[in-house]
Protein backbone atom coordinates (compact mmCIF):
# COMPACT_ATOMS: atom_id res chain seq x y z
CA UNK A 1 0.00 0.00 0.00
CA UNK A 2 2.73 2.47 1.00
CA UNK A 3 4.80 1.32 -1.96
CA UNK A 4 1.85 1.70 -4.33
CA UNK A 5 1.24 5.21 -3.07
CA UNK A 6 4.91 6.15 -3.39
CA UNK A 7 5.12 4.61 -6.84
CA UNK A 8 2.03 6.53 -7.96
CA UNK A 9 3.47 9.79 -6.64
CA UNK A 10 6.74 9.12 -8.45
CA UNK A 11 5.04 8.32 -11.75
CA UNK A 12 2.80 11.38 -11.45
CA UNK A 13 5.82 13.56 -10.64
CA UNK A 14 7.68 12.31 -13.71
CA UNK A 15 4.59 12.75 -15.90
CA UNK A 16 4.03 16.26 -14.60
CA UNK A 17 7.61 17.29 -15.27
CA UNK A 18 7.32 16.07 -18.85
CA UNK A 19 3.86 17.55 -19.51
CA UNK A 20 4.30 20.86 -17.69
CA UNK A 21 6.74 23.56 -18.69
CA UNK A 22 7.00 27.24 -19.51
CA UNK A 23 6.69 26.53 -23.24
CA UNK A 24 3.21 25.57 -24.40
CA UNK A 25 3.37 22.15 -26.01
CA UNK A 26 -0.02 20.71 -27.01
CA UNK A 27 -0.71 17.29 -25.51
CA UNK A 28 -1.13 15.82 -28.99
CA UNK A 29 2.42 16.84 -29.90
CA UNK A 30 4.10 15.68 -26.67
CA UNK A 31 5.62 12.63 -28.32
CA UNK A 32 7.06 14.54 -31.26
CA UNK A 33 8.16 17.76 -29.60
CA UNK A 34 11.86 18.44 -29.60
CA UNK A 35 11.45 20.48 -26.42
CA UNK A 36 9.80 17.58 -24.61
CA UNK A 37 12.11 14.92 -25.95
CA UNK A 38 15.45 16.73 -25.68
CA UNK A 39 14.89 19.12 -22.78
CA UNK A 40 12.03 18.14 -20.48
CA UNK A 41 12.40 14.37 -20.55
CA UNK A 42 16.14 14.22 -19.79
CA UNK A 43 15.69 16.92 -17.17
CA UNK A 44 12.87 14.99 -15.49
CA UNK A 45 14.89 11.77 -15.47
CA UNK A 46 18.01 13.55 -14.23
CA UNK A 47 16.01 15.25 -11.46
CA UNK A 48 14.68 11.85 -10.41
CA UNK A 49 18.11 10.22 -10.41
CA UNK A 50 19.80 13.08 -8.58
CA UNK A 51 17.01 13.38 -6.01
CA UNK A 52 17.03 9.64 -5.45
CA UNK A 53 20.81 9.52 -5.10
CA UNK A 54 20.77 12.38 -2.60
CA UNK A 55 17.96 10.70 -0.62
CA UNK A 56 19.88 7.43 -0.35
CA UNK A 57 23.20 9.17 0.37
CA UNK A 58 21.55 11.23 3.11
CA UNK A 59 19.92 8.21 4.73
CA UNK A 60 23.21 6.31 4.72
CA UNK A 61 25.25 9.21 6.08
CA UNK A 62 22.77 9.97 8.84
CA UNK A 63 23.10 6.40 10.09
CA UNK A 64 26.89 6.48 9.66
CA UNK A 65 27.66 9.70 11.50
CA UNK A 66 24.89 8.92 13.99
CA UNK A 67 23.43 12.36 13.45
CA UNK A 68 19.90 12.61 12.14
CA UNK A 69 20.55 16.18 10.98
CA UNK A 70 23.38 15.28 8.60
CA UNK A 71 23.07 16.38 4.96
CA UNK A 72 25.20 14.85 2.17
CA UNK A 73 26.61 18.29 1.37
CA UNK A 74 27.70 18.76 4.99
CA UNK A 75 30.79 16.65 4.39
CA UNK A 76 32.77 19.26 2.45
CA UNK A 77 31.87 18.05 -1.03
CA UNK A 78 30.11 21.21 -2.21
CA UNK A 79 33.08 23.33 -1.14
CA UNK A 80 35.44 21.03 -3.04
CA UNK A 81 33.22 21.04 -6.12
CA UNK A 82 33.05 24.85 -6.13
CA UNK A 83 36.81 25.08 -5.83
CA UNK A 84 37.28 22.63 -8.69
CA UNK A 85 34.96 24.64 -10.95
CA UNK A 86 36.65 27.94 -10.12
CA UNK A 87 40.12 26.52 -10.75
CA UNK A 88 38.98 25.25 -14.15
CA UNK A 89 37.63 28.70 -15.02
CA UNK A 90 40.77 30.41 -13.73
CA UNK A 91 42.94 28.16 -15.89
CA UNK A 92 40.75 29.06 -18.89
CA UNK A 93 39.97 25.43 -19.56
CA UNK A 94 37.15 25.28 -22.06
CA UNK A 95 34.90 22.56 -23.30
CA UNK A 96 31.36 21.45 -22.70
CA UNK A 97 32.24 19.06 -19.87
CA UNK A 98 35.06 20.97 -18.22
CA UNK A 99 33.01 22.42 -15.37
CA UNK A 100 31.21 19.21 -14.38
CA UNK A 101 34.47 17.25 -14.53
CA UNK A 102 36.38 19.88 -12.56
CA UNK A 103 33.64 20.02 -9.94
CA UNK A 104 33.64 16.24 -9.70
CA UNK A 105 37.42 16.23 -9.29
CA UNK A 106 37.17 18.91 -6.61
CA UNK A 107 34.51 16.95 -4.74
CA UNK A 108 36.67 13.81 -4.93
CA UNK A 109 39.65 15.73 -3.55
CA UNK A 110 37.57 16.99 -0.64
CA UNK A 111 36.25 13.46 -0.11
CA UNK A 112 39.77 12.07 0.05
CA UNK A 113 40.90 14.74 2.47
CA UNK A 114 37.93 14.26 4.80
CA UNK A 115 38.33 10.49 4.63
CA UNK A 116 42.01 10.77 5.55
CA UNK A 117 41.13 13.02 8.49
CA UNK A 118 38.47 10.56 9.60
CA UNK A 119 40.92 7.64 9.72
CA UNK A 120 42.05 8.15 13.29
CA UNK A 121 45.32 6.41 14.00
CA UNK A 122 45.31 5.15 10.43
CA UNK A 123 42.78 2.41 10.97
CA UNK A 124 39.38 3.12 12.45
CA UNK A 125 37.07 5.60 10.73
CA UNK A 126 35.64 7.99 13.29
CA UNK A 127 32.27 9.32 12.10
CA UNK A 128 32.39 12.31 14.43
CA UNK A 129 35.66 13.40 12.84
CA UNK A 130 34.15 12.84 9.39
CA UNK A 131 31.43 15.31 10.28
CA UNK A 132 33.71 17.96 11.78
CA UNK A 133 36.42 17.39 9.17
CA UNK A 134 33.82 17.72 6.43
CA UNK A 135 32.66 21.06 7.73
CA UNK A 136 36.27 22.25 8.09
CA UNK A 137 37.36 21.08 4.62
CA UNK A 138 34.25 22.66 3.10
CA UNK A 139 34.92 25.99 4.78
CA UNK A 140 38.57 25.89 3.76
CA UNK A 141 37.73 25.13 0.14
CA UNK A 142 35.15 27.92 0.13
CA UNK A 143 37.76 30.33 1.48
CA UNK A 144 40.24 29.43 -1.28
CA UNK A 145 37.44 29.71 -3.84
CA UNK A 146 36.54 33.18 -2.63
CA UNK A 147 40.21 34.20 -2.63
CA UNK A 148 40.65 33.07 -6.25
CA UNK A 149 37.46 34.78 -7.34
CA UNK A 150 38.35 38.08 -5.71
CA UNK A 151 41.97 38.07 -6.89
CA UNK A 152 41.44 36.96 -10.47
CA UNK A 153 40.38 39.56 -12.99
CA UNK A 154 38.21 37.35 -15.18
CA UNK A 155 34.62 38.43 -14.61
CA UNK A 156 33.32 34.98 -15.51
CA UNK A 157 34.92 33.54 -12.37
CA UNK A 158 32.18 35.18 -10.39
CA UNK A 159 29.78 33.06 -12.33
CA UNK A 160 31.31 29.89 -10.93
CA UNK A 161 29.12 30.46 -7.90
CA UNK A 162 26.13 30.61 -10.23
CA UNK A 163 27.23 27.35 -11.76
CA UNK A 164 27.44 25.67 -8.35
CA UNK A 165 23.80 26.53 -7.74
CA UNK A 166 22.81 25.96 -11.34
CA UNK A 167 20.40 23.14 -10.65
CA UNK A 168 19.21 20.97 -13.46
CA UNK A 169 19.57 23.44 -16.33
CA UNK A 170 22.38 21.44 -17.86
CA UNK A 171 20.33 18.24 -18.09
CA UNK A 172 20.71 16.28 -21.30
CA UNK A 173 20.55 12.63 -22.28
CA UNK A 174 24.35 12.69 -21.99
CA UNK A 175 24.25 13.58 -18.31
CA UNK A 176 21.42 11.09 -17.75
CA UNK A 177 23.48 8.37 -19.39
CA UNK A 178 26.51 9.25 -17.26
CA UNK A 179 24.50 8.97 -14.07
CA UNK A 180 22.75 5.79 -15.19
CA UNK A 181 26.15 4.18 -15.74
CA UNK A 182 27.74 5.61 -12.61
CA UNK A 183 25.14 5.56 -9.84
CA UNK A 184 24.21 1.85 -9.68
CA UNK A 185 27.51 0.79 -8.10
CA UNK A 186 27.44 3.17 -5.09
CA UNK A 187 23.68 2.64 -4.79
CA UNK A 188 24.18 -1.12 -4.67
CA UNK A 189 26.95 -0.74 -2.09
CA UNK A 190 24.62 1.29 0.13
CA UNK A 191 21.73 -1.13 -0.31
CA UNK A 192 24.02 -4.04 0.54
CA UNK A 193 24.91 -2.23 3.77
CA UNK A 194 21.24 -2.01 4.78
CA UNK A 195 21.44 -4.60 7.59
CA UNK A 196 24.73 -3.40 9.10
CA UNK A 197 23.35 0.15 9.02
CA UNK A 198 20.40 -1.01 11.14
CA UNK A 199 22.87 -2.49 13.61
CA UNK A 200 25.08 0.60 13.57
CA UNK A 201 22.17 2.58 15.00
CA UNK A 202 22.87 0.80 18.31
CA UNK A 203 26.50 1.95 18.39
CA UNK A 204 29.65 0.41 17.00
CA UNK A 205 30.39 -2.17 19.68
CA UNK A 206 26.86 -3.64 19.86
CA UNK A 207 26.77 -3.66 16.05
CA UNK A 208 30.02 -5.62 15.96
CA UNK A 209 28.67 -8.23 18.37
CA UNK A 210 25.54 -8.58 16.24
CA UNK A 211 27.64 -9.57 13.27
CA UNK A 212 28.44 -6.30 11.50
CA UNK A 213 31.92 -5.82 10.07
CA UNK A 214 31.81 -2.29 11.43
CA UNK A 215 35.00 -0.82 10.02
CA UNK A 216 34.36 -2.09 6.50
CA UNK A 217 30.75 -0.92 6.63
CA UNK A 218 31.70 2.58 7.74
CA UNK A 219 34.22 2.93 4.93
CA UNK A 220 31.89 1.58 2.29
CA UNK A 221 28.97 3.72 3.37
CA UNK A 222 31.03 6.91 3.55
CA UNK A 223 32.69 6.34 0.18
CA UNK A 224 29.53 5.26 -1.62
CA UNK A 225 27.39 8.09 -0.23
CA UNK A 226 30.08 10.64 -1.02
CA UNK A 227 30.63 9.33 -4.53
CA UNK A 228 26.88 9.64 -5.18
CA UNK A 229 26.91 13.19 -3.85
CA UNK A 230 29.97 14.10 -5.91
CA UNK A 231 28.25 12.90 -9.08
CA UNK A 232 25.09 14.81 -8.15
CA UNK A 233 27.04 18.04 -7.65
CA UNK A 234 28.82 17.53 -10.98
CA UNK A 235 25.61 17.21 -13.02
CA UNK A 236 23.32 19.53 -11.07
CA UNK A 237 25.26 21.64 -8.58
CA UNK A 238 24.33 21.86 -4.93
CA UNK A 239 20.71 21.03 -4.27
CA UNK A 240 20.02 21.30 -0.57
CA UNK A 241 17.49 19.69 1.74
CA UNK A 242 16.65 16.66 -0.42
CA UNK A 243 19.30 14.55 1.26
CA UNK A 244 18.34 15.89 4.67
CA UNK A 245 14.56 15.79 4.66
CA UNK A 246 13.73 12.83 2.43
CA UNK A 247 15.30 10.19 4.71
CA UNK A 248 13.25 11.50 7.62
CA UNK A 249 10.00 11.46 5.69
CA UNK A 250 10.83 7.93 4.55
CA UNK A 251 11.51 6.93 8.18
CA UNK A 252 8.12 8.22 9.25
CA UNK A 253 6.39 5.93 6.77
CA UNK A 254 8.78 2.97 6.55
CA UNK A 255 10.48 2.87 9.92
CA UNK A 256 14.19 2.55 10.48
CA UNK A 257 15.02 -0.62 8.64
CA UNK A 258 17.30 0.40 5.83
CA UNK A 259 16.24 -2.53 3.66
CA UNK A 260 13.01 -0.68 2.90
CA UNK A 261 14.11 2.79 4.00
CA UNK A 262 16.83 3.13 1.35
CA UNK A 263 14.63 2.23 -1.64
CA UNK A 264 11.88 4.46 -0.26
CA UNK A 265 14.37 7.33 0.11
CA UNK A 266 15.47 6.79 -3.49
CA UNK A 267 11.98 6.90 -4.97
CA UNK A 268 10.84 9.63 -2.59
CA UNK A 269 13.90 11.78 -3.23
CA UNK A 270 13.48 11.34 -6.96
CA UNK A 271 9.81 12.30 -6.83
CA UNK A 272 10.48 15.31 -4.59
CA UNK A 273 13.19 16.74 -6.83
CA UNK A 274 11.14 16.13 -10.00
CA UNK A 275 8.23 18.02 -8.43
CA UNK A 276 10.47 20.81 -7.10
CA UNK A 277 12.09 21.28 -10.50
CA UNK A 278 8.73 21.35 -12.26
CA UNK A 279 7.62 24.09 -9.87
CA UNK A 280 10.91 25.95 -10.38
CA UNK A 281 10.39 25.94 -14.14
CA UNK A 282 6.72 26.87 -14.19
CA UNK A 283 5.53 29.04 -11.30
CA UNK A 284 7.26 32.27 -12.40
CA UNK A 285 7.47 31.51 -16.15
CA UNK A 286 9.03 32.74 -18.35
CA UNK A 287 11.52 33.22 -15.55
CA UNK A 288 12.82 30.29 -13.54
CA UNK A 289 13.52 29.88 -9.84
CA UNK A 290 16.72 28.19 -8.74
CA UNK A 291 15.58 24.67 -7.83
CA UNK A 292 17.45 24.93 -4.52
CA UNK A 293 15.05 27.72 -3.56
CA UNK A 294 12.08 25.41 -4.11
CA UNK A 295 13.61 22.46 -2.24
CA UNK A 296 14.43 24.82 0.63
CA UNK A 297 10.89 26.27 0.61
CA UNK A 298 9.49 22.74 0.85
CA UNK A 299 12.27 21.33 2.98
CA UNK A 300 12.73 23.93 5.70
CA UNK A 301 9.18 23.75 7.11
CA UNK A 302 9.32 19.94 7.05
CA UNK A 303 12.70 20.11 8.68
CA UNK A 304 11.41 22.44 11.39
CA UNK A 305 8.59 20.01 12.17
CA UNK A 306 11.05 17.11 12.33
CA UNK A 307 13.33 19.11 14.60
CA UNK A 308 10.43 19.56 17.00
CA UNK A 309 9.77 15.83 16.95
CA UNK A 310 13.40 15.10 17.69
CA UNK A 311 13.65 17.52 20.56
CA UNK A 312 10.38 16.32 22.08
CA UNK A 313 11.23 12.62 21.75
Amino acid sequence: MRWMLLGTVAVLALLASVVLGPAAVPLSELGRSDIVWNLRAPRAVLAFLVGGSLGVAGAGLQALVRNPLADPFLLGLSGGAGLGAVIALALHLTGPWVLPLAAFAGALAALGLVYRMGLVGGAALDPRILLLGGVAVGAFAAAITTAIVSLADAAELRNAFLWLWGGLSAASWDSVLLLVLYAPVPLAVLLAAARPLDLLALGEEPARYLGADVEAVKRRVYLAASLLTAAAVAVSGVIGFVGLVVPHIARLAWGHRHRSLLPAAFIGGGALLAIADTLARTVVAPRELPVGVVTALIGVPVFALLLRRWTIA
Binding site: E205, A212, H256
Partner: protein
Protein backbone atom coordinates in the same frame (compact mmCIF):
# COMPACT_ATOMS: atom_id res chain seq x y z
CA UNK B 1 27.51 -32.27 29.06
CA UNK B 2 30.53 -31.00 30.92
CA UNK B 3 32.63 -33.44 28.94
CA UNK B 4 31.92 -31.51 25.73
CA UNK B 5 34.71 -29.36 24.33
CA UNK B 6 34.73 -25.77 25.62
CA UNK B 7 33.13 -22.96 23.63
CA UNK B 8 35.55 -20.30 24.84
CA UNK B 9 39.11 -21.01 25.81
CA UNK B 10 41.60 -18.31 26.79
CA UNK B 11 45.14 -19.33 27.57
CA UNK B 12 47.65 -17.05 29.29
CA UNK B 13 46.28 -14.00 27.52
CA UNK B 14 48.14 -10.72 27.70
CA UNK B 15 47.20 -7.30 26.32
CA UNK B 16 48.53 -3.76 26.45
CA UNK B 17 46.71 -0.74 25.00
CA UNK B 18 48.75 1.30 22.50
CA UNK B 19 50.81 3.88 24.36
CA UNK B 20 50.13 2.41 27.80
CA UNK B 21 53.05 1.77 30.12
CA UNK B 22 51.84 -1.53 31.50
CA UNK B 23 49.70 -4.47 30.51
CA UNK B 24 45.96 -4.02 30.90
CA UNK B 25 45.67 -7.76 31.27
CA UNK B 26 48.21 -10.54 31.72
CA UNK B 27 48.32 -14.20 32.55
CA UNK B 28 44.59 -14.78 32.23
CA UNK B 29 43.26 -18.23 31.38
CA UNK B 30 39.68 -19.39 31.44
CA UNK B 31 37.32 -21.80 29.72
CA UNK B 32 33.57 -21.75 29.37
CA UNK B 33 31.81 -24.90 28.22
CA UNK B 34 28.16 -25.65 27.44
CA UNK B 35 25.96 -25.47 30.54
CA UNK B 36 28.60 -23.55 32.48
CA UNK B 37 28.12 -20.18 34.16
CA UNK B 38 31.44 -18.40 34.50
CA UNK B 39 31.71 -15.04 36.27
CA UNK B 40 34.62 -12.61 36.04
CA UNK B 41 34.89 -10.42 39.13
CA UNK B 42 37.00 -7.48 40.07
CA UNK B 43 36.97 -3.84 41.05
CA UNK B 44 36.69 -1.01 38.56
CA UNK B 45 39.64 -0.88 36.19
CA UNK B 46 40.72 -4.45 36.86
CA UNK B 47 40.58 -5.37 33.15
CA UNK B 48 37.15 -7.03 32.98
CA UNK B 49 35.93 -5.29 29.84
CA UNK B 50 39.33 -5.76 28.16
CA UNK B 51 38.92 -9.45 28.85
CA UNK B 52 35.55 -9.48 27.07
CA UNK B 53 37.01 -7.69 24.04
CA UNK B 54 39.87 -10.19 23.86
CA UNK B 55 37.49 -13.12 24.26
CA UNK B 56 35.36 -11.84 21.36
CA UNK B 57 38.20 -10.98 19.04
CA UNK B 58 37.60 -7.23 19.19
CA UNK B 59 41.20 -6.92 20.43
CA UNK B 60 44.16 -9.07 19.42
CA UNK B 61 46.06 -10.53 22.35
CA UNK B 62 49.73 -9.56 22.57
CA UNK B 63 50.45 -12.97 24.04
CA UNK B 64 48.59 -16.20 24.61
CA UNK B 65 45.52 -17.34 22.69
CA UNK B 66 41.82 -16.69 22.77
CA UNK B 67 39.79 -19.28 20.90
CA UNK B 68 36.13 -19.85 20.26
CA UNK B 69 35.31 -23.42 19.23
CA UNK B 70 39.03 -23.99 18.80
CA UNK B 71 39.40 -21.20 16.26
CA UNK B 72 41.19 -17.94 17.15
CA UNK B 73 38.50 -15.39 18.08
CA UNK B 74 40.08 -12.81 15.79
CA UNK B 75 39.85 -15.16 12.80
CA UNK B 76 36.06 -15.47 12.93
CA UNK B 77 34.04 -13.47 10.41
CA UNK B 78 31.83 -11.27 12.58
CA UNK B 79 28.61 -12.61 11.18
CA UNK B 80 29.57 -16.24 11.79
CA UNK B 81 30.77 -15.45 15.29
CA UNK B 82 27.47 -13.73 16.03
CA UNK B 83 25.71 -17.06 15.42
CA UNK B 84 27.82 -18.68 18.16
CA UNK B 85 28.19 -15.89 20.71
CA UNK B 86 25.49 -13.49 21.83
CA UNK B 87 26.57 -10.38 23.73
CA UNK B 88 24.71 -8.02 26.03
CA UNK B 89 27.11 -5.06 26.03
CA UNK B 90 27.34 -2.67 28.91
CA UNK B 91 26.22 0.31 26.86
CA UNK B 92 24.21 0.96 23.74
CA UNK B 93 21.92 3.69 22.57
CA UNK B 94 19.25 3.74 19.95
CA UNK B 95 19.76 6.41 17.35
CA UNK B 96 16.21 6.03 16.13
CA UNK B 97 13.10 5.08 18.12
CA UNK B 98 12.42 1.37 17.86
CA UNK B 99 9.84 -1.12 19.04
CA UNK B 100 10.84 -4.10 21.19
CA UNK B 101 10.13 -6.67 18.48
CA UNK B 102 12.24 -4.65 16.01
CA UNK B 103 15.22 -4.51 18.32
CA UNK B 104 14.98 -8.25 19.08
CA UNK B 105 14.81 -8.85 15.33
CA UNK B 106 18.32 -7.38 15.09
CA UNK B 107 19.44 -10.55 16.88
CA UNK B 108 18.36 -12.54 13.83
CA UNK B 109 20.60 -10.57 11.44
CA UNK B 110 23.54 -12.97 11.76
CA UNK B 111 21.26 -15.68 10.36
CA UNK B 112 19.91 -13.70 7.39
CA UNK B 113 21.44 -13.50 3.94
CA UNK B 114 22.38 -10.14 2.43
CA UNK B 115 18.97 -9.41 0.97
CA UNK B 116 16.79 -12.24 2.25
CA UNK B 117 13.63 -11.47 4.17
CA UNK B 118 13.11 -12.96 7.62
CA UNK B 119 11.79 -16.52 7.36
CA UNK B 120 9.15 -18.15 9.59
CA UNK B 121 11.88 -19.74 11.69
CA UNK B 122 13.30 -16.29 12.39
CA UNK B 123 9.97 -15.10 13.72
CA UNK B 124 9.67 -18.28 15.76
CA UNK B 125 13.13 -17.64 17.24
CA UNK B 126 12.12 -14.11 18.16
CA UNK B 127 8.97 -15.31 19.93
CA UNK B 128 10.95 -18.03 21.76
CA UNK B 129 13.54 -15.48 22.90
CA UNK B 130 10.86 -13.06 24.08
CA UNK B 131 9.08 -15.86 25.95
CA UNK B 132 12.30 -17.09 27.53
CA UNK B 133 12.89 -13.61 28.93
CA UNK B 134 9.29 -13.13 29.98
CA UNK B 135 9.09 -10.22 27.54
CA UNK B 136 6.34 -11.37 25.18
CA UNK B 137 3.92 -8.79 26.55
CA UNK B 138 6.49 -6.04 25.84
CA UNK B 139 6.85 -6.90 22.15
CA UNK B 140 4.90 -3.94 20.77
CA UNK B 141 6.16 -1.32 23.21
CA UNK B 142 8.60 1.42 22.17
CA UNK B 143 12.03 0.64 23.59
CA UNK B 144 12.37 4.07 25.15
CA UNK B 145 9.23 3.51 27.28
CA UNK B 146 10.73 0.46 29.04
CA UNK B 147 11.98 0.47 32.62
CA UNK B 148 15.62 -0.44 33.23
CA UNK B 149 14.76 -4.01 34.15
CA UNK B 150 12.46 -4.52 31.18
CA UNK B 151 15.12 -3.11 28.87
CA UNK B 152 17.75 -5.55 30.16
CA UNK B 153 15.37 -8.46 29.60
CA UNK B 154 14.75 -7.27 26.05
CA UNK B 155 18.49 -7.03 25.44
CA UNK B 156 19.00 -10.56 26.73
CA UNK B 157 16.13 -11.64 24.46
CA UNK B 158 17.91 -10.06 21.50
CA UNK B 159 21.09 -11.97 22.34
CA UNK B 160 19.06 -15.18 22.68
CA UNK B 161 17.45 -14.57 19.30
CA UNK B 162 20.94 -15.04 17.90
CA UNK B 163 20.56 -18.66 19.12
CA UNK B 164 24.08 -18.57 20.48
CA UNK B 165 25.95 -21.29 22.33
CA UNK B 166 27.71 -18.74 24.50
CA UNK B 167 26.11 -15.70 26.12
CA UNK B 168 28.38 -12.86 27.25
CA UNK B 169 26.96 -10.26 29.64
CA UNK B 170 28.93 -7.16 30.62
CA UNK B 171 27.69 -5.73 33.94
CA UNK B 172 24.06 -6.60 33.18
CA UNK B 173 22.71 -5.78 36.65
CA UNK B 174 24.01 -2.22 36.94
CA UNK B 175 21.18 0.17 37.83
CA UNK B 176 18.64 -2.59 38.36
CA UNK B 177 16.62 -2.77 41.55
CA UNK B 178 16.57 -5.86 43.73
CA UNK B 179 13.67 -7.62 42.07
CA UNK B 180 14.91 -7.06 38.53
CA UNK B 181 18.46 -7.93 39.50
CA UNK B 182 17.38 -11.26 40.99
CA UNK B 183 14.99 -11.94 38.11
CA UNK B 184 17.79 -11.39 35.60
CA UNK B 185 20.17 -13.79 37.39
CA UNK B 186 17.39 -16.39 37.72
CA UNK B 187 16.73 -16.02 34.00
CA UNK B 188 20.39 -16.49 33.06
CA UNK B 189 20.84 -19.44 35.44
CA UNK B 190 17.69 -21.02 34.03
CA UNK B 191 19.03 -20.75 30.48
CA UNK B 192 22.25 -22.41 31.53
CA UNK B 193 20.45 -25.28 33.21
CA UNK B 194 17.60 -25.75 30.74
CA UNK B 195 19.20 -25.28 27.32
CA UNK B 196 22.85 -25.82 28.12
CA UNK B 197 23.94 -22.28 27.27
CA UNK B 198 27.46 -21.29 28.25
CA UNK B 199 27.58 -17.96 30.09
CA UNK B 200 30.43 -15.55 30.65
CA UNK B 201 29.35 -12.73 32.92
CA UNK B 202 31.36 -9.66 33.85
CA UNK B 203 30.25 -8.17 37.15
CA UNK B 204 31.53 -6.47 40.24
CA UNK B 205 28.66 -7.87 42.31
CA UNK B 206 30.44 -10.56 44.33
CA UNK B 207 27.38 -11.86 46.11
CA UNK B 208 25.24 -12.45 43.06
CA UNK B 209 28.13 -14.07 41.20
CA UNK B 210 28.79 -16.29 44.19
CA UNK B 211 25.14 -17.34 44.36
CA UNK B 212 24.66 -18.15 40.67
CA UNK B 213 28.00 -18.88 38.94
CA UNK B 214 29.65 -22.27 38.72
CA UNK B 215 33.13 -20.83 38.57
CA UNK B 216 34.51 -17.35 39.18
CA UNK B 217 37.70 -15.57 38.14
CA UNK B 218 38.84 -12.74 40.37
CA UNK B 219 40.88 -10.02 38.65
CA UNK B 220 42.93 -7.29 40.24
CA UNK B 221 44.84 -4.72 38.20
CA UNK B 222 44.78 -6.94 35.17
CA UNK B 223 46.13 -10.03 36.93
CA UNK B 224 44.19 -13.12 37.96
CA UNK B 225 44.09 -13.39 41.76
CA UNK B 226 42.16 -16.61 42.08
CA UNK B 227 39.92 -18.85 40.00
CA UNK B 228 37.64 -21.75 40.74
CA UNK B 229 34.46 -22.50 42.66
CA UNK B 230 33.06 -19.44 44.46
CA UNK B 231 33.65 -20.97 47.89
CA UNK B 232 37.33 -21.49 47.08
CA UNK B 233 37.96 -18.09 45.54
CA UNK B 234 35.94 -15.73 47.68
CA UNK B 235 37.72 -16.00 50.98
CA UNK B 236 37.82 -13.07 53.37
CA UNK B 237 41.57 -12.51 52.89
CA UNK B 238 41.38 -12.48 49.11
CA UNK B 239 38.36 -10.19 48.93
CA UNK B 240 39.83 -7.71 51.39
CA UNK B 241 43.08 -7.63 49.48
CA UNK B 242 41.50 -7.15 46.08
CA UNK B 243 38.84 -4.61 47.06
CA UNK B 244 40.91 -2.82 49.74
CA UNK B 245 38.10 -2.91 52.27
CA UNK B 246 37.46 -5.04 55.35
CA UNK B 247 34.67 -7.57 54.97
CA UNK B 248 33.16 -10.50 56.75
CA UNK B 249 32.06 -13.64 54.93
CA UNK B 250 28.91 -15.61 55.59
CA UNK B 251 27.32 -18.57 53.88
CA UNK B 252 23.89 -18.79 52.24
CA UNK B 253 22.77 -21.98 50.48
CA UNK B 254 26.37 -23.13 50.77
CA UNK B 255 27.63 -20.14 48.78
CA UNK B 256 29.90 -17.47 50.27
CA UNK B 257 28.30 -14.08 50.80
CA UNK B 258 30.32 -10.99 51.54
CA UNK B 259 29.27 -8.22 53.95
CA UNK B 260 31.49 -5.11 53.91
CA UNK B 261 32.35 -3.76 57.36
CA UNK B 262 32.12 -0.14 58.41
CA UNK B 263 35.21 2.00 58.80
CA UNK B 264 38.52 0.21 58.38
CA UNK B 265 40.29 -0.23 61.75
CA UNK B 266 43.66 -0.01 60.10
CA UNK B 267 44.83 0.08 56.49
CA UNK B 268 44.75 -3.29 54.86
CA UNK B 269 47.87 -4.31 53.01
Amino acid sequence: MSAASPILRMRDVRYRYPGASQDALAGVSLTVGPGEFHAVLGPNGSGKTTLVRLALGALIPAGGTSEILERPARAWPRQELARVVGVVPQREDNLFPQRVRETVLLGRYPHLSLWGKERPEDHAAIERALAACDATQLADRWVWTLSGGEYQRVRVARALAQEPRLLVLDEPAVSLDLRHEMALFELVRGLVDRVGLGVLMITHDLNLAARYADTVLLLSEGRPVAAGAPADVLTRETVERVFSWPVTMQSVDGRPQMVPLRQPKEPVA
